[in-house]
Symmetry: C2
Subunit: 200 residues, 2 copies
C-alpha cells in the first residue's frame, strides 16, 4: 500500500467508499482519509467528486462487462459456454460482492450513463451470440429459444444471489462460509437449468 502511486491509492480508496456508500453517501473526506492523503489532493488528481465517481464507475463496469463479453463470444460449443459463464462469473462476483449492487444501483439512479458506457462494453458481442443461437436452432441442435430470455435467466440466477446476499443470508440463516458453499453449488445447478431449458 505504501509504494503505490498516489493516484492509485486514491482510486482504490474511492472505489471502496463509493461501492459501500454510493455516489451520494460517499464523502470526499473519508476517501482522503482512507487513502492517507489530504483532501485537496483528491481535487488535484480528479477534479471533482463527479469526475472521481465516474472514473470509479467506469472501472467497475470495465471489470464486470468484458467477462460477460469474453465468455459469450468465445469460440466454444454453446453448452460449454454456459457452464463456463456460471462457473467463472459466480466465482468472480463472489470475490467482488459489492460490485453488481453498485453498478446496478447507480445505473438505476443515472440511466443516461448507460448508453455510453455499458453499450460500448457489451453491445456487439450480444449480436454475435444471437446469431450463434439462431444457427444452432436452425440446425436443430437446440430448441428455437428466445435468446434474450435465456440470457436474462442465466444472468439473473448468477447475479441476484450476490446482490441480495445479505437478505438471503439472513433468510436462510447461513454463515458466511455456508453462503459461499451455497453459491458454489449454484454454479453447476444454474448451468444445468439453462442447458435443460434449451436442449432438444
Amino acid at each position: 500500500m505504501e509504494d503505490k502511486t498516489t493516484e492509485i491509492k486514491i482510486l482504490e480508496a474511492a472505489t471502496e467508499v463509493f461501492q459501500e456508500k454510493g455516489m451520494y453517501g460517499a464523502r470526499m473526506q473519508e476517501i482522503a482519509d482512507k487513502a492517507g492523503i489530504n483532501k485537496a489532493l483528491l481535487h488535484y488528481y480528479y477534479r471533482s467528486k463527479e469526475k472521481l465517481f465516474e472514473t470509479v464507475f467506469r472501472a467497475a463496469v470495465s471489470l464486470m462487462a468484458p467477462r460477460i463479453k469474453g465468455i459469450i463470444s468465445s469460440d466454444v460449443p454453446i453448452f460449454d459456454k454456459i457452464r463456463k459463464f456460471t462457473d467463472e462469473y459466480i466465482s468472480f462476483l463472489s470475490n467482488h460482492t459489492y460490485l453488481p449492487a453498485f453498478v446496478i444501483n447507480e445505473l438505476n439512479k443515472n440511466p443516461q450513463l448507460i448508453q455510453e458506457i455499458f453499450l460500448k462494453e457489451i453491445g456487439s458481442s450480444f449480436q454475435i451470440l444471437r446469431d450463434d443461437v439462431q444457427k444452432l436452432a436452425d440446425k436443430g441442435e437446440i430448441k428455437p429459444v428466445d435468446i434474450e430470455h435465456v440470457l436474462v435467466n442465466m444472468i439473473s440466477m448468477s447475479l441476484f444471489p450476490i446482490i441480495a446476499k445479505p437478505l438471503l443470508k439472513t433468510m436462510f440463516n447461513k454463515s458466511e462460509k455456508d453462503y459461499q458453499i451455497f453459491l458454489e453449488t449454484r454454479k453447476k445447478l444454474v448451468a444445468d437449468m439453462i442447458i435443460d431449458s434449451i436442449k432438444v
Copy 2:
C-alpha cells in the same frame, strides 16, 4: 392529492424521493416541496430524516414481503403456487419498479436492519414451504430438490429483470412498452422453468 392528510402526503412524497435517490441522496427540502409543505412540518410529523426514512423503508418491505409470504404459504398445489407467484409478483413489481432496487440496495448498506424487519415479515412462512416440499418429495410427486435453490431461482428470475431494467432495456434496445411485454412473457416462462426443474 388535495384532500389527503398532510401525514400521508409527506409519506408519499418521501417514498418517491427516497426510492429515487436513496437515503443519502434524498433531500428533506425536496420531499417538503413535493409534498407542498414547509420543511419544518416534516420534522413535526417525523422527527428526523432517519425516522422518516425508516418509516418509508418499512412500508416498502411490508408491501413486498407479505406478497411472497401470502403466495408461498397459501394452500394450493405447489405447481399452482409457482404459477401464481411468477404471475402476481411480476405484475406487482412492474407497477412498483423502484421498489426492489430500493429495498435491496438499502439492505446492502444497512444489513443490521434485516434481522428485525425482514425476518419478521417472511421468516415463518419459509419453514412451512420447506416442510411442504419435503413431504411432496417423500411422496415422490416432485424431485427431492433443495428448496433454497428453487426459491432463489424463482425470485431471481422474477426480480432481477425489474432491478436491472434500465440496463436490460438498453442492452436489448427495447422501448418501455416492449419491455413490459418482455416481462409479461416471463411470467409463464419462469414458472415453466421452475416447474420443469422439480417435476419428476
